[in-house]
């Protein structure tokens, strides 16, 4: 929650210009670089705290990117954490996520489930899905369908 300016048409135009001028992540190369760095960091965390690894992987997904490869790269990072976790750890890890992170996780579960090339992971993903659904309810599923900014 935060204070917002009443968006008159002039203010909307001003905001758009400012965002284009200031946003350091607006270029595809920057997004790809940050995703690659994150994937490397997540791999290094997999031997330690898997919950923290998942939170790192889910933070700031590249939704503004127009490149399918960048998005796939981030999905691989998330998928690696999911397959690295044992069945007993799933509930505790989901418990430690914030509401926004759970929404993003739901989106990634559907994305990876929808990828035919990764169908060997589907058993694990479905276990995660049922446990996450218990926590978030149907709202997160609806949001993964309606949100135009896809992960």
């Amino acid at each position: 929650p935060g204070r917002i300016w009443v968006k008159t048409p002039q203010l909307i135009q001003f905001i758009r210009q400012e965002v284009r001028r200031r946003d350091p992540m607006s270029s595809e190369e920057d997004l790809k670089a940050s995703v690659t760095a994150r994937a490397a960091k997540v791999s290094s965390m997999l031997s330690g705290d898997k919950g923290a690894a998942l939170r790192t992987a889910l933070a700031d997904p590249p939704v503004t990117s127009k490149s399918a490869e960048t998005k796939a790269l981030n999905a691989v990072a998330v998928g690696d954490v999911i397959t690295a976790c044992g069945d007993g750890e799933i509930e505790a890890i989901i418990e430690g996520l914030s509401d926004t992170e759970r929404d993003v996780l739901m989106k990634y579960l559907y994305k990876i489930l929808g990828d035919v090339g990764q169908c060997d992971k589907s058993g694990q993903l479905l276990k995660w899905h049922s446990k996450l659904l218990k926590k978030t309810g149907m709202g997160a599923v609806v949001r993964s369908m309606t949100d135009r900014k896809t992960v």
């Binding site: 917002i4 949001r143 309606t146 135009r148």
Partner: protein, 376 residues
Amino acid sequence: SRMSAATNFHQLSEQGISAHAWNGDRSMIAICPNSNEVHIYSGCSNPDPSTWTRTHVLAEHDLLVSGIDWSPVTNKLVTCSHDRNAFVWTFQDNEWKPSLVILRINRAAIDVKWSPDGSKFAVASAAKSVPVCHYEESNDWWISKMIKKHKSTVLEVAWHPNNQLLLTGCSDFKCRIFSAFVEECEDQLPDGAGPYGATQPFGELLGEFDQARGWVESVAWSPSGARLAFAGHDSSLTVVNFQGSQAEAHTNRFNLLPLSSIMFANEDTIIGGGHEFNPAVFTADNSGSFVFQRSLDTKSSAPAPAAASTGGFANARAMFQSKTTRGQAKNDASDSLWTKHENVITQVTSRDAPGAANVTQIATTGLDGRIVLWRL
């Protein structure tokens, strides 16, 4: 068992109810039973809807009647339809007479609302515009002025209590506030009369909110007009509080399925009905954001009747049938449809006096054709 807040319900139509509106004293209701007709029932002060009698049928439209509103001030009905028309109905000589409305839209009309003083009405249309119509005495018709600036179908409109600000929810994922000041109907307001100060010219875009990540299906003002709320199809409810010229927005992305229709019961309570088939109550917490408090419909805790044991073969057969049709081994009674509504709730309205600051009686209608009356 804990009593459900539903006081009564009735199957008014077999095909669903696309719109409904109460008259000023809530003794009559106009509904559209998902057809091109409008049915008016009287005797609605009686809490049992099965006693209500149908007194009039209005059949001027050619396609589905998508919106009905009844002004408590002038007692006129306005109906709008997918046939791109709207009619204003006046009760004379014991029958409802339609008046011509020049809407000037080339797509379906989705929703219609009278302004608080009954002098004009706004229509949400699929032509990406909102015609605001007022009466022209010289030609005996209702003529429209267009509010454009939408990028897609406008799904719902809501008037501010000051009669000049119009809130619109659009399927381009945005909620907008416009000035709908019509000089033929009213005087200009001084500064401080509402969230945006003095009267702005007709059609001016005063604010745009993009917190919803899905269609903005329903919009509403609080009774005082100091708050507005809109429900998005991404299962979100955003409330904007106005303090002077500042606006503060809080978005709640909740766990339920999306809401289709919301209304303020009072300044701090929002009732929403939607795809859960169960009206949900959201209340304000200290920080000004609205959180889910409870659902109005509750399952009665009476135990399900024990299934008669009819022998091993029948049981085994039932188990396999259940596995193929429902995906689970036993026929659990708790999975059956227990809510009063058996399909999506499409409209939530107040049954208390118009403009009441605290609403305790509401009615909901939905695609199942039922009307359910609730007491909060």
